[in-house]
Homo-oligomer: 278 residues x 2
């Protein structure tokens, strides 16, 4: 995190408040929050997946609380034993608690399976938009549309982003992509071309999902940063220093596969690929 | 080739007529052409990089001859010891010979470094368009715009494709991409969205360039086929059988790295991802 921060990264999803005995990967979340608190201009995001998680998140020094709502009842029940309505109630609780808290973190409602569901299959765009509207009505400051299992294609992303732009007006929305089938960066490009300005990524494409064994991580952050710059969006991130951060993560996680094309080749050396470079 | 043909692939770039002692990788080109001649509806493409190559290509049973012209004089001289003008003269010779031959293959002028040059750096779009026009005036039936060193971003691809559509009118043009920096599939999506209907790919992203050590192969063919279908373009290719072809190639080339996300995950199982599927 320190190395990524030094590279210019300012938004971090640090983890989720879940019981440390069942989810040891999140056991050090409080340490991470403490460390982040001392870094300049940090935007600290935590996931809250139940009532207890919301309470813990509100009590901690966090800037954004993400709750997860599934686009389908089938996935919602399988993933969290809640209907979509119950999940929206949790968003409402988080938003209300956040607004009456001291730190006043923003609330982000992440719509999982927004581009297709591993259980229910096809997901109608109109259902996703209705759910996004419901989440905002429940108090969410921001909605994320998540391609949780990497089903999306770029035209589908473009179409949903166009509608999200209309729905969210001048509020930002987030696009959360997984490169499960090679379309991750293409979907990110489509999202950027169609009004999305907040995208998730993971260094080296690390990660997965504790609830979906075998799932791949988010779209590779290094490749995403390069894409943004190549498309004219300034990120404020130094790719050389980000590559150092990758090296540190690789040493710390020697058994994890690290993905990404930029790490093999580096950016073009004799061409102005950075945003605003010509 | 047989397995790919069985999967529905009909267009193959088989190799280049070059001296077998210096380029042993192309030594079996005649055998490949013979084998392809017995397969249904095959479109056989060969590269011709010099006068001798053109003569050999014309004398063989090929459907398309690709000549290479560089977008920059610097690369043209370094790559082929020819100026761009001399390279265009070779296109003219190929086109004239093709038209007066028995088989009448089409001539394709591939513009290398069309999105940036490893030697000269930035390449102006207007230079590429002027060169494309010159190649067509010299008799080329088709022009390929090639991102030889993987410098392109999707907006650059979109912009050049828009202009190529205008320039080529109802003639197809080809987009040749390398996924050197993670933008390959995003560039392909941009090309498809902006009028390109012919794209090159390589099974498993295999390959490179005998003249550019360290260069990566073309964009991964399996991922490209999936992208096309996901975007609504029918390919006529069976991805399961294409995956078998990948397996055969992997056995034959155990030391080569094979790329591609689809090979890890397969297409979505409970969603109609094929073009025209709903």
């Amino acid at each position: 995190m320190r190395a990524e921060h030094a590279a210019g990264v300012r938004h971090f999803e640090l983890g989720s408040f879940l019981p440390a005995d069942r989810f040891p990967q999140f056991a050090d979340l409080r340490d991470l929050l403490d460390a982040a608190a001392s870094m300049k201009a940090m935007h600290k995001i935590v996931l809250a997946l139940n009532e207890r998680g919301i309470d813990d998140a509100i009590a901690s020094d966090t800037d954004e609380i993400t709750c997860v709502v599934s686009a389908t009842d089938e996935h919602s029940l399988a993933n969290s034993r809640r209907t979509r309505q119950q999940a929206v109630a949790l968003v409402r609780k988080a938003a209300e608690a956040a607004r009456s808290s001291e730190h006043r973190p923003i609330t982000n409602a992440g719509i999982a399976m927004a581009f297709g569901c591993s259980i229910a299959g096809q997901v109608d765009q109109s259902d996703v938009l209705r759910l996004a509207e419901t989440c905002m009505a429940a108090g969410a400051d921001m909605v994320s549309i998540a391609d949780t299992v990497g089903y999306a294609g770029p035209r589908q992303v473009a179409s949903l982003c166009d509608e999200m732009v209309k729905l969210c007006d001048d509020r930002p929305f987030c696009v959360h992509l997984h490169d499960t089938r090679g379309t991750g960066i293409a979907n990110a490009a489509a999202a950027l071309d169609h009004g999305a300005r907040v995208l998730d990524g993971a260094l080296g494409g690390l990660g997965g999902c504790p609830f979906a064994p075998g799932a791949t991580g988010n779209v590779v952050f290094e490749d995403l940063v390069y894409l943004c710059e190549r498309m004219g969006f300034e990120t404020g991130i130094d790719l050389d220093r980000l590559s150092e951060a990758r090296g540190i993560a690789k040493c710390a996680l020697p058994d994890e596969p690290f993905f990404g094309a930029l790490a093999r080749s580096g950016p073009p050396l004799n061409l102005d690929w950075r945003a605003g470079a010509a």
